[in-house]
């Protein structure tokens, strides 16, 4: 199988479907009505994997959109984080909601539980900025 080349392999669904899998390892062409009917597609499998999102991050960088690439890398880290946790962190990041300690705890949990280092860095950066602008609780 050829290596992923961000400059040529986009759109993945048409140019490199061989590189795309669901979280449970299904190929795009296995995601059919028939598959649904016969129960061969696990619940919640219609999702991008971290690996796919990282490839999309690479595509964005290959056309010079580095911040979109950073965003998609964060998304790759967040793909495995449960919905409720995502919503909790979002609320914690809203202005005046959290102390520096709470934000640091979130950053550590992101790193330890989900290996989400770039999301953790974003949370720590927010904490510093909020301290400067009096937006910590």
């Amino acid at each position: 199988m050829a290596e992923f080349d961000p400059a040529y392999d986009y759109p993945l669904s048409s140019n490199r479907p061989d590189l795309v899998r669901t979280p449970h390892g299904l190929r795009l062409d296995e995601l059919t009505l028939d598959g649904l009917f016969h129960g061969s597609i696990p619940e919640g499998d219609f999702r991008a994997t971290p690996a796919t999102l990282r490839m999309q991050a690479g595509v964005a960088r290959s056309v010079g959109m580095s911040q979109l690439g950073d965003n998609l890398d964060r998304a790759a880290e967040m793909a495995v984080i449960p919905d409720e946790v995502i919503l909790e962190i979002y609320t914690a990041l809203r202005p005046g909601r959290s102390s520096a300690q709470v934000l640091e705890e979130w950053a550590e949990r992101l790193e330890e539980d989900y290996s989400a280092t770039s999301v953790a860095a974003l949370v720590r950066e927010a904490s510093v900025a909020y301290a400067r602008r009096n937006l910590l609780k």
């Binding site: 795009l28 979109l68 900025a129």
Partner: protein, 739 residues
Amino acid sequence: MSESGRARARADRELRLETIIEPQPDLGLVTMNGPNDPTPELTVRDGVVESMDGKRADEFDLIDIFVSLHGIDLEVAEGAMALPDLEIAHRLIDVGISREDLVRLSRGLTPAKLAHVVSLLDPVEMMFALKKLRARRRPANQAHVTNRKESPALLAADAAEAAARGFAEIETTVGVARYAPLNAIALLVGSQTGRPGALTQCAVEERRNLQLGMQGLTTYSETLSVYGTDAALVDGDDTPWSKAFLASAYASRGIKVRFTSGSGSEALMGHAEGCSMLHLEARCLSLIRAAGSQGVQNGGISTVALPLALPGGSKSILAENLMAAWLGLEVASGNDAIASHSPIRKTAKLMGQFLPGTDFVTSGYSAVPRYDNMFGGGNYDSDDFDEWTTIQRDWQVDAGIEPLSEEAALTVRQRAATAIQSVFRHLGLPAITDQEVADAVLAYDSADMPDRDRAADVEAADLVYAENVTGIDVVRALQAAGHTDIAEAVLGMQRLRVSGDYLQTSAIVGSDWQVESAVSDPNHYRGPGTGYRLEGERWERLQTLPHRLDPASFAAHRSPRADSSVGRAEALPGANHTEVVIGLGPAFAASLQATINGLSHGSVLKALDEGVRSIGGAPRFVRVRRTSDVAFIAHDASRLSGSGISIGIQSKGTAVIHRADLEPLDNLELFSMAPLLTLDSYRAIGRNAAAYALGLRTSPVPVEIDNFARAKNIVQTTLLHATETASVEVGAPAEEFEF
């Protein structure tokens, strides 16, 4: 002070319902180049921004901090910030400099520099630069679909019609927040019935919005609003970091995101900090790119009327769109909220985006009547579809809406309403009756729809969240009800999330699920003959409006030329002093049989004959063959007339009374408004001609004037006259015509 009737008439126009004001910069009520806007500058030491746009790092607010950390490419900045503003402005409109180079340059510019540079362009230069900098090759459009009753059958039918009209994205919202999941489901099912691949969203509070996306009931979101000052951002209960986090959260669930900004919002919130709207928008856009958004909806948006109250409003809104494109962002360019009461004014503003083309020419064209628009009205709505498609046809410009026949619209509405009825039944949601389905197909708006049990609806909607009903459940419901093709399409929308292809800049889904984005289909416009051009099949499609007429359909006016005219005697000059010669056009009562007003030629001849005879004139009819021009027909006839008086009449009905001694193009009375001429008019024309022949005093025949007659009838006039002219026999003498 007294006031003229004309001033009163102007004061009564719709335009004057609006307030325009002098700029007041301290309140942020100035569009661009405000007196308090900072001078662009950037100081970097050891890879760290020390000052930006007049502020030291220790004075930075949240936006400055975030932009300085993520929004400026310091390698590019060194050279870019040193370039004179005018030099950069020239590059924006230099057709030899590529979009890629300009986007790269923008990565090194501060917000103040961006705003300064674009403000140097005039509107046409801005339009040209925008055409060049649009991210996606092909322009598209977004629809708004809502209704006051939150009727699911009507939502589905309207979404289906919008998708069938070619909208690439369809957005709904709620009147009552709890309805959101039901509206999202109706939109999803309807849109995929109309055109598989149309992206949908349901704009609600941020957490709910994300939840709908996570459940697979929506595919994109543009609710991430940002503002150009800290105070406004915090009033919006967010920070650059919370927004950036949210953007990644959406992407992690395979949901396309664009941010929202737009001039006027900070001033409206009381937090403009004395800066111009364009400067604050530059800060928003720098922040939006820094946060990693692929795009933005901007250009006034819901506060569009505020910049339009100020000098340069339309221009600064266009400048906002241009800046966003320059930063490499997808642009959904406003034109959604009501910009003006005046149709002239709002459409003049629209041309700034319509002619160059943007990724989404509107960030919400109301595909429903204004009454049902829950986004606050809609600048253009379903009543305006024919105008929009006609303006596209006039300019040969693709602004993202396709013509749709009524038959096709009704078919797709019926299918969508039936499909959502099945989905509600299979998901155990409150029933949609057959009557609702039938009404949804033909309704003008939701006032035509039966009332629903709203208490039951919102309770059921709560359960859609609680029981985590997903897009896949919708697929199963559609399949169980036998709507296999719609089930396939909704499944396709779920599958899109797996590859994440539509997370790239300016992505839309074209035919056969092909993602068109700035990566796969970039805009490479480099002058005439390059870039997206409305040509070929697409141009055929956009020009084929359902209400167009086939020129051949006017054949109804025609008949084979009557043989009776062949071999008639040449008309000779008469000697009778009471004579009025009536000269007929070469096709009159021959290959044409009726006037443009639908009067049969026989009845017109009879009316003229009666008119001339009514006061003792002697009518004589001749056919002029050598010309189809009414003046020369009359002139030839007058030279045959014993009295020198003639009437010339063309087949379409245009008539003139002439006298032999006048220059051909001069006349006694001219009746150019053929569509308004009745048999009584022709009788009066005959009578007056006789009066001239008999030397009697007479008042000119009163004529009706309709200043729209030409606009209304010019096509028919041209086609009828073409037939007349085709009957001309060059050099042939006039001949006797027996009546």
